[in-house]
Symmetry: D3
Subunit: 319 residues, 6 copies
């Protein structure tokens, strides 16, 4: 089984940087979880640099260890995991890159791996959903973000990181009755921006989330998604920029890292077939807290997968 | 009517940096809101560099859009707004600069514009209040800050950013019965520093604000100010330095950006004749979160003005 | 009596950097509180640079003033305080340095001074506890940290900043029945990491602390420690990295600076014989908020000491 | 005539940021020099962020004053100059943006203005040359860069910032017999990379330039270009990254800012119809030296234009 | 005799930060050299923050050791040296501060100490020259800078860091026949800015210095100053911003640190009665090279003093 | 043969970070060049953090391409190269780590690989030399550095990064008659520090190197080393801190990156059996120029090896 290098032999800062020092492999046989970089950032409309996101998230994953004491699961006891490396992309060319990403991601889904994608800008979620739905059919979307990314087009009619879920709706990739957006906030282009979301799926705005608290939100997400196959997309700008400055379109008034972890842990039991964590831009992260948080978010994703397997009576891996 | 360049044509990062890409004008006819920089920082007693505050707040205002979905108002539907540029000052010369600032600000008040001033250090609030009261008479002060700025003098007897409201009290610029300071915290020079504030006006200290919560504080501020003409001064060090490190005399133990926005939105209905946001020092803001927050605070000020006009049955601007 | 230079004569940014501009002395006669740097960082297992911690904490202490309005005590009215400078260490040599630190610290305890140590990495708490217990016998430990630092050895069997309290337990330095760890969180090496702590002493994990709130935690700590002689060790990574990025093994999901101050103030009445604040690494603190918070934490320690003296009917110092 | 705000009234850090505080105008009548931003960076193959280049170069132009004492010319005595603002672009869409840039630039050339373009990545030089040659016919290229940017395509066949001059050659935009590349260095993809340049035009590699010195290089460029109409394109990575770290594909072993200024001043007398300064990426410029240097390079361009007019017996502007 | 703490016992990064770990004393008896901070920056016209210059220069002096192998002198073998701390100033008040600085500096000159002042902005050289000339009469000025600082007034008629030597000329503080400015460069306000300098004293512009080389410049300075009593003022912006970004009005096209050291060492034999190193602004120095260079420049000053004593047959200090 | 991933398929910023995207292998069969990290920094006496050096040098190697046009050699045409990963070390434990490093390095030498080690602090050169000489016997040392690292012991008698070559001399690892130190500069602890070097081997001090120029220095090094087996150790602080700020004991007055490359290229023909590049500390390198330069220095090492093979009539590798 594919397992990470132990934390302290050699020291965690030694060696080639893979996520949590997992083996870098592209052979998917027997693999449960694959960490997959998608270093694409041509879709952004403001600050740019997410192409270096996967490198940085891998770097800060060095501080992670394998047991999640809150969810009470040792990830690598229940999952074989690898670092798959990065998908190929063509910087500067969105549609060509989206084709490459879809193609690259399809292999992972086809092999029954649960992939966790490291962005990259949010436009990548569109080809990732295309690949996922090719395997699983339309999916319930659990979408953490301060923006709804349901734009019809930026600069007139252009695809960007503000449009992926509009295209996903148009292509029927989403199981809208079981989808939900959480954390919308910030000033809006138009008065009906939030209503546009509400007309399509469930929404918990940022202000509503502050008011209702995390436990109620967890209950609402759980109820909304139910036992449907689901995809979790996490835009790091869901988190307040004090906790995650390293992103492109930060919105103040957001959530703490503690609240973020609490929310994610509350999603246990849902049937996620894939995850992404996007919009991390390391060059805007001088305190490194964003990259560190993203690595922890990925670890929570891994823990959710492992917990699912544990609860499903999967036998622990013998080491 | 004076309106900003639309958000995405050209892209928001293109063009000369005015606040929210508003037209840069000094003609005040028909103007409701003017953004006015006051790049003065000679009054500070510790870290310095607020002279670059207006430039930076303008730069980060690029991420703002015109609709406030929490207050449910589209700012430019109800207000004609401009970026007036900066007032002239004489760096190194506080009293001369204060005269220039008062003179510059007077024109704005005289033309029935509601100005929003971008500091600069807190000493500028004194000439701004002089200009405002020349038009409106004494004003209720709504003062967010971790310091009371009621010092009798720094370094013996000198005016500084620690003394503006002492001078304002001496000059009867404040309607003290309706004034309030919110957020005072940090270590004090003397045991009676907070009592000095309480003897003059209402006070919610930082610890008290943490205990009572934002809704109770909003109620208290609303009750205190009532329907009196008011001036809002916001020292960015009210906010915790995790959320606003780019300032000169930061005090830990403060408030989040979410709490800050909640408080400001709660001030709807008050009769503000002017606003300032001071003590932003960009060079101490490597994560850019301070400048971004300041731009959002200014947007909340604009939204309060627009909401007042909307609620007063002002006709929306035809575009 | 030994008192700091007044805050504004000369300006606080002028002069040689001692903590709060206290006199730099090594004569301990009549001294109540000594600030003592321990610039040692060879014990760390990830990011390094705590050797510059004492310098930076001193630098940011310039923003402190002498009165604590929440605890209602003027520190220097009840305490004679000095900046003792730094203890000698041998970088690169842990055991030799630990001997030097123990020897250096012993003088302070022997002279009935209450020392506040500025780290440096957490490994220094071991020789500091050795010195303290040589004077006072085993001590109740009040330990704020995201890690339990009870490791049996890093890289096999080596002492590090992950092992000080294991050694302290082995050497019977701790009064375990009255000791407590607060804030443990983050991923773990092994499934039983937290149970290891619980088997030895009381524990409030990070998640538990978020749930129970600060007032309940204060009550629990007070009850646990009671009137026993105690030592407070504060690893800055207890605080969330948004509020304290400048550290070596940051863990997201932590606590705010406001919560931290609230907790510390709640410890009034306990019988602390010494304090340390460790793991501040200035080069990872571009926003300076970590160093500023550490200086404030030290001020709260000083306030607790002063309050104890005030409550014990100590006469105020005549100036 | 269009002239900048005087340097010290108000202080140079006050006011809306235009280049050297020139008036922001789009009316080209009577204008000699126009500063024009081109905030496009989709063409880059490594670090990204040049979209913020024009903003930053404008910001640092505040330190410039109007007289060039080495060339002995007061720029605004001989030239009417404006800040034209930025050309519209579509981030993420290279070909569409190139069309917008060409169209935008054409207006400037059509009005007999000498434009100085602020990049943006080097791909913009292609549409700029298209616009220039539409007016003037093929142009001698004076190209400062560490890369020849003559690639046939990145990622297979794609246009990028590595291909503009290949396309320009293909489109016969260049007067190759009078063109020259200066400063080529760094490791190469292929053994014949430099020969490819030499086969097309004159080349002074970085190593050759170090050996021959600036005076000999000036002579060589002057001889090569002669009295032909010329276009100067300056990639900031010509300069050593110690002097210009804020760029995307830096190459060590480069040139100092003093050598750079010496070279540019040596180009007096050449018939430049346009200039660009590209590849400045502010977010990689924490010391701000790159942006400051770029502003100075632009000032040298302006000085060359003014000197040409002065030497051509143009009457000084009356003020 | 007053000597520094040895370099490695304790480690150089330990202990209270005085310059080179010299004893902090204000008793001047028997003292040859005093390091004196002047944390004043109200005189600047652009970037600000030199008030933290003395702290930072002291911090980086930790890397210095006592022997100058190029000048072949062990500083502390020939000189008793102290760190005098900082002079008192009143931030925000130039004239009052200048009075304080003059008064503070006078004590040092009166006691036959050779002071080395750490700025602070260049305006401080005026009160320092007043104090020096009160003791020694008019002095030959050796002035390294990219600006001549001979302005008649900024913002109309105001004293600033651009005017100190104009006032010094007016007050006859300078022995102009033996004075020299070295390094003038950058764009100028007026066409005659450099001629103004030449009319008063000798000048080597930046371009001239690049052309003539350091050895010829040394000869010229030596010849100009001769055996007259002299004062050396070093504005760190003489150095190229690649080597010294941490300053307020940087000018590209400057000199390397190697050239700077070569020049300073070439001044051996001159009769300096005082020195200053000004315009270091730490917050603009993220690479720390400016502060480190400033500390080395101060060490060269100390070496020049020690060499003078050695050459004058002063007996080495017995230790 | 082991070859890197082509530069642009996928983009150079994609994928797991190995040096120049070489395959990460530990099988040494048929390998000519191995890049080997040594993430050890316990030996430093001032700034610390070289443990992250190998990661950062690998990251910036992404900008390298395979052909060296100055030496006219395509590296991978003549050499099979791998990234071996990092050697195991025990942070905080110098002697244990040195044993691990020696053991790890021995395998590489034993397999006739020419290793290039990425430090880590300079203390690692001692175990590396032990490993190299075990294979080759005593070696001529070509040592670029601003310090001679011939200390007898730091803090009394302790091994550190200041002592490796003292120990190497004591252990007869060096062929002193053919060894040379280049670049020594900065202040010294003792008057005879440089003489100590000269008594052992040839020395070109920093000042001498500035005077003699690079071509003469190359000739001197070539003559000194001749055809002896040699080891090249490059302390990045040889370079001026303007060009390499990211190091622990920077010394101003150093050399440019262009001079550095010129020197290294001049060493062609020498018989190097191993190389190291040490003392890169990424956290002190905010402009990234140090890491980029280090990657280029490693590329020059690779080029020297390839050129040796090319000149020795090795057949090019068929691809």
């Amino acid at each position: 089984m594919s397992q990470p290098t132990p934390t302290y032999r050699p020291p965690n800062f030694a060696g080639i940087r893979t996520f949590m020092r997992l083996p870098h492999k592209t052979d998917l046989a027997g693999v449960d979880i694959a960490i997959v970089g998608v270093p694409f950032d041509t879709g952004v409309t403001h600050r740019v640099g997410g192409r270096f996101g996967p490198e940085a998230i891998r770097s800060y994953s060095m501080l992670l260890r394998g047991h999640n004491s809150v969810l009470n699961v040792s990830v690598f006891e229940y999952c074989s995991a690898i670092d798959y490396g990065d998908l190929d992309v063509t910087p500067g060319y969105l549609h060509e890159s989206h084709r490459q990403i879809e193609q690259g991601a399809s292999k992972l889904f086809a092999n029954n791996v649960t992939p966790i994608f490291l962005g990259g800008d949010h436009s990548i979620s569109l080809p990732l959903l295309r690949a996922a739905t090719a395997k699983y059919g339309s999916l319930a979307l659990v979408h953490f973000d301060s923006h709804n990314d349901l734009g019809h087009g930026s600069y007139g009619d252009k695809d960007s990181h503000g449009t992926p879920f509009r295209r996903a709706v148009e292509e029927n990739l989403l199981n809208l009755d079981h989808s939900i957006q959480i954390g919308l906030r910030g000033s809006n282009h138009r008065a009906d921006d939030i209503q546009i979301s509400r007309d399509l799926m469930d929404v918990i705005t940022g202000v509503e989330l502050h008011e209702m608290g995390m436990p109620a939100a967890i209950e609402r997400i759980q109820a909304r998604v139910g036992n449907k196959l689901a995809y979790l997309t996490f835009d790091i700008d869901f988190v307040d920029p004090a906790f995650a400055p390293g992103t492109g379109t930060p919105e103040v008034g957001g959530f703490t890292s503690a609240q973020t972890l609490q929310l994610l842990r509350g999603l246990q039991g849902l049937n996620f077939v894939g995850f992404d964590c996007v919009e991390v831009i390391p060059v805007y992260d001088p305190t490194t807290v964003t990259c560190l948080l993203a690595a922890n978010i990925v670890f929570e994703f891994m823990s959710l997968i492992a917990l699912q397997r544990k609860n499903n009576q999967t036998q622990p891996i013998q080491r």
